[in-house]
């Protein structure tokens, strides 16, 4: 009946067994340097990906394409971001050319894959940009990435298939915390078990995993090729957990950082939920718990929380439907811009040990594969943060049909991720760089 509390109960039992403490925090340099990854002099790069499903309002979100560069007029949909105008760039003209479904704002947004790209399969996807970043930027932190989602609200929010924005190296959907409460516990649940007991528990976890793998091998010998391809996911899940256990072991004994915010209330939905999730993301970055975050935001519950009584899909077809629909769509844009502005405020005001701000080392990607309605051309793309050496403050109109993946490639390389190409990328976007 009260799902959030429920889930919390589950997480508690879960963490007692599996999730061990440990996060590098400002107050915990000592352990950070004890961790295997060396602490570089330069502050680490971070990347944040925010996806909002059902596109935006065509006429009031996109800056005039004729006003290129820094001197553009901020449209009303972006007005709440006015104080950050010189600190983000809008890119227009980017597309995922192989995406053809008008209801998939997030499935291929960060992957650029062709749904029909694999013969004999009804669905195909590839790794998402955030997971490429996680592979490289996530080595030294407690979590290589944190994949956040909005649970059941995602279904009506124009995201399309998937469990989050993130897809793993084999194109399988990834799942993660679905509420602020879950995210908070994943990051900050305090561990009270003595270290020796934790070590024993880790050993026991390993033997349980060995056991599971052995059982899977026994089965593997009896199965045919197709079935084994499926069973591979099970092996992969075991491997993923082992990787995490190794991480846990490295961080053994380091206490969890203070979250710096109270435990979220369950049952928040929409606007408040997104705001809180942003706060938790800031806390995750500030405590250096992870350096890569993705968040598939709710749209349907956002509307409800804004007292809009029109369902999200109908709202996205505001054209030709009467002013109340357009109004709902614009209200949604402003609310989302407000929330983003709040996130940018906090990135700027959170200090790093060297006196710089989180904003100086972070890249925020904010957008959707859907432009508006069912349109997929020129995906709404807002980039902020100084982490990837971007030229900020401009309205950048790129050549028609430039792959969205070119932007991802540019950001990844700018953040120090050695990657040759991504998805259907054809190269970096030079104008995006400072």
């Amino acid at each position: 009946m009260n799902a959030p509390q429920n889930r919390r109960g589950f997480l508690r039992t879960g963490t007692a067994l599996i999730a061990l403490p440990v996060l590098e925090s400002l107050g915990f340099r000592r352990f950070a340097s004890a961790a295997p990854a060396p602490v570089a002099a330069a502050r680490p790069k971070r990347m944040v990906f925010l996806g909002f499903g059902w596109g935006v309002t065509e006429q009031s979100w996109f800056p005039d394409v004729a006003q290129k560069g820094a001197g553009y007029t901020l449209p009303s949909g972006l007005a709440p971001l006015a104080r950050h105008k010189s600190d983000f760039t809008i890119v227009q003209g980017l597309v995922n050319k192989d995406v053809s479904g008008g209801h998939t704002g997030s499935t291929f947004w960060l992957t650029g894959a062709n749904e029909f790209g694999a013969p004999g399969q009804s669905f195909h996807n590839t790794i998402s940009a955030d997971q490429i970043a996680a592979d490289s930027l996530g080595k030294a932190t407690r979590f290589d990435s944190l994949v956040l989602d909005c649970g059941a609200a995602a279904n009506a929010s124009g995201h399309g298939q998937g469990l989050s924005l993130s897809w793993d190296a084999r194109g399988k959907p990834m799942s993660g915390p679905k509420t602020p409460v879950e995210a908070f516990h994943r990051l900050f649940a305090q561990e009270t078990t003595p270290i020796e007991v934790q070590k024993t528990m880790l050993r026991q976890r390993r033997s349980v995993l060995d056991n599971a793998r052995e059982s899977a091998r026994e089965l593997q010998r009896q199965l045919g090729k197709t079935d084994n391809a499926k069973l591979d996911e099970y092996f992969q899940s075991i491997r993923d957990i082992e990787t995490r256990l190794s991480r846990d072991e490295r961080w053994l004994g380091a206490p969890r950082p203070a979250p710096g915010l109270p435990e979220p209330k369950p049952s928040l939905a929409g606007y408040e939920e997104i705001a809180l999730m942003y706060d938790i993301m800031i806390a995750a970055l500030r405590t250096d718990s992870t350096r890569v975050l993705s968040y598939r935001q709710p749209v349907s519950t956002l509307l409800t929380s804004l007292d809009v009584r029109i369902d999200a899909h109908t709202m996205s077809h505001y054209l030709g439907k009467g002013p109340e629909y357009l109004e709902a769509s614009e209200k949604r844009d402003r609310a989302q811009s407000e929330l983003l502005a709040g996130l940018l405020d906090k990135l700027k005001s959170t200090q790093e040990p060297d006196g710089s701000s989180l904003f100086d080392h972070t890249t925020v990607v904010y957008g959707s594969n859907i432009r508006t309605g069912h349109t997929l051309d020129s995906c709404p793309t807002l980039l902020a943060g100084r982490g990837a050496g971007l030229r900020l403050g401009q309205n950048l109109v790129v050549a028609k049909d430039t792959p969205l993946c070119n932007a991802w490639l540019t950001l990844l390389r700018g953040s120090g991720v050695a990657v040759e190409r991504h998805g259907d990328s054809t190269g970096v976007i030079p104008h995006l760089l400072a």
Partner: protein, 912 residues
Amino acid sequence: MPTRVTLRLVSVNLLIFAVGVPAARAAAAPAGAMTERHRAFLASNCQGCHGPEKQKGKFRVDDLPLTMADLPAAERWQKILNALNSGEMPPEDEAQPAPEAKANFLDDLSHAMVGARKRLADQQGVIALRRLNRREYANTLRDLLGVHVDVSALPSDTGGPNFDTVGASLFVNGNQFEIYEALAQEALEEAFNASIVGSAPKKLRFEAEQAHPAFLKKNQESLEAIDRMNRWIKAVDDAAASPENATLVARLRKDAPADDDLRFHWHKIPGAPSPMNFGFSKETEVNPRIIYRHRDYVDFVRYDEYYLRLSALDRGAYLPVRSNTQPFGFGGTGIATEPRFPIPRDFPAGDYVVRICAGAAPGAPAERLFLDFGLKGSFVVGTGTPARSTHHVTGTLEAPEVIEIPFTLTRANVEQNHRQLFVRERGFLNLARSQQQFREAVQRNGHGPEVAIWIDWLEIERRPVAPETLSPGLRALDLPLDARVADVPPEKLRGALARFAQEAYRGIPAPDGLVDRLLRLYDSRRATGGTHRDALKQALATVLSSPRFLYRAEPEAGAARRPLDGLELATRLSYFLWGSPPDQTLRDLAAGGKLRQPEILAAQADRLLDHPGSAHFVRPFLGQWLTLDRVDLFQFNQTLYPKFDDAVKAAARQEVYETFSALLRDNGSLGELLSADHVVINALLADYYGIPGVSGDAFRKVALPAGSPRGGLLGMAAIMAMGSNGQHTNPVERGAWVLRKLLHEPPPPAPANVPELARLGAQLLTARERLQLHQQEPQCANCHRKIDPIGFGLENFDAVGQWRTTDTYQARDEAGKPLPNAKKTWTIDAAGVLHKGPAFRDYFELRAIIAAKQENFARGFASALIEYALGRPCGFSDEPLIATIVAQAGAKSLATREFVHALIRSPEFLSK
């Protein structure tokens, strides 16, 4: 290697077959191919720039293969489709194709595209290894251990384009293994506890009248306080009104013009008494507002007074009607809000039955005789907890009747201390409505709404847990489960683990290696200080998160196709029709080699369908096939549609399931889903549909009067409600749904990048005029000329499936305010012409046209059933199977069970 060769042969056969068989659609081209006629369209419209001479954008159309046999070919055609849909091509300054020709071309191309995608994705009958989906997993744990586990921590398996049984879409990722293991530990913990608590009976009856004495006392106190307030106010006002105080009062009024404010200065007015003389506290002398507060509750106290004068209060209590967010009855007594009944703390998690003995109050109107039942936490002050179920009150005050409700108290309920059973009148939560009700009633009778439902008593009783009903898992284990057990002999433990694993693996013996490993795991737990119970739980949780439990493995013997063995068949059948593992009967038949005998298999299918467990087939299959979750997508506007509340919404959805269940039970014709002379409803829906003479919660067949729009899916409130947005109807959604689900002519997926119609804003148009603009653009017309006429034929159903004859449109300004003189009301005209089809004058004729196409419906149903049962998308290679099933069912007038029988005796179902 041999496997690959076979597969190739299969696909060659398939191509020949697909070309040779008449496609479902009238188009001459085989699915996934275009024709020479289309090449002519390209030649005249595109080839000038994209042909042998010029290849603008490095793209040429003249050498395109007509059959989209591979991905590159499909991508080239997709590019053409995209360019035409977006209006990008032909360029504006070039000659444009005739709208009709363009629409036809787009129509054919988009269907060919769907066909090609489907063919290229065809799995050629191969079923990807199926993981238990979320609900099957919960059912399996329930059958094995007798406990209900909250599986919401697992990723959802629905929401994709396929059924949640399709192996290819059932992933395992990230930490999912750990979730399975943690859930298994939880389930085991609960099962162990339940077996230790044992079969102690638990039963408690609450007499509803027990709170009345306290309530009466409180009401008398409140009445008396109001009287004291009135007397003090009068005393002060009298003193203020006396002529000798006139000058003083005039001066005081300058700062305190209102009477209420003036009385703050009572001590300055000679002759005005202190409130303390009237029994009020010291602080009221400086702040009379504390006294005025009693005024806010006068209405409620009067209502309580009315309540307390009702008859039969010595034997029971009435359900009150809420008038305010605050519990009414000053200070609240419990009885005047919603009656709550705490389940005692020593009642363990498990299965119970709740009985409510209730009757109608004298003179209560029929539509108010429904009560909501539910469970909430004791600390919840508000009344916002949604009901679990809604029930019809069939008894009277003199002859109350017992409503019996199965009830499960979960471990989560226990942990969160959710132990308060509540009962309230339906509609209690609709604050706006109950406030209005209250206001109207006060005007009418001076006190408030008449009560409608009287409760005699409520009781909760634990279902008996006898040793012989011990869950199969624990029975197989046959071990003490107490933490204090010191040592279990290794042989005994080995036997127990082996038996448990075999039970968990649905009858397949556990490999020796597994039992050895489990024993080692157990020992290492014990060696590090774990109790017997902990160590056992760990070992068993390992079994319940191992792949043999989580996946329904069908080993491959080398040959591409082989017959399933008995157990595999039992498992397929049971998960198909029960969503849960095979029971002992199925397993015994499998072990005895009998299940593969056609008559035994058929008899078992009938047994499963006759069992209540078949609800675990009906609900998920029908719910996903007909996309019933759309009903929950919208918030239905409770001001416009107060009758369509949560209770009716749930009953409306239940109607779809119950109608199908009745068809299965009676083996009626599938065609009755298209048109029928009866409905399957309960009292609540009968009230909603305005059908008299139906009593009680049970759904049953009710004959319809002639001329009723009900009967069949189209007449169901749930189906029409999901073709709306909670406020207005959505004819496009309805039309597309009918094409997809009833006529089996699915329109292609909504194309991307079609320019939207922006010019309609505040124009006063009927819904039909508004949508007819779709048909001006060929990009829209190619689909909407098929969709829209059907949608408009259903316009007589409003957004919540009620019959109507008029509709209105109100234009609004930028701020959303209604514009004056900008409202249009029109009589609904449902007449239309199907694209390349017959004309119809109204909804009834449209329904008849659709009902006449029951063969199409049967084909769509068969392909959905194939996908659901086999756990793989239904592809072109399944056309012969579809044809066989429809032919066999057709020979028996499309008898619903015959579809299931025809499918389970097919080679596809019987072999790996």
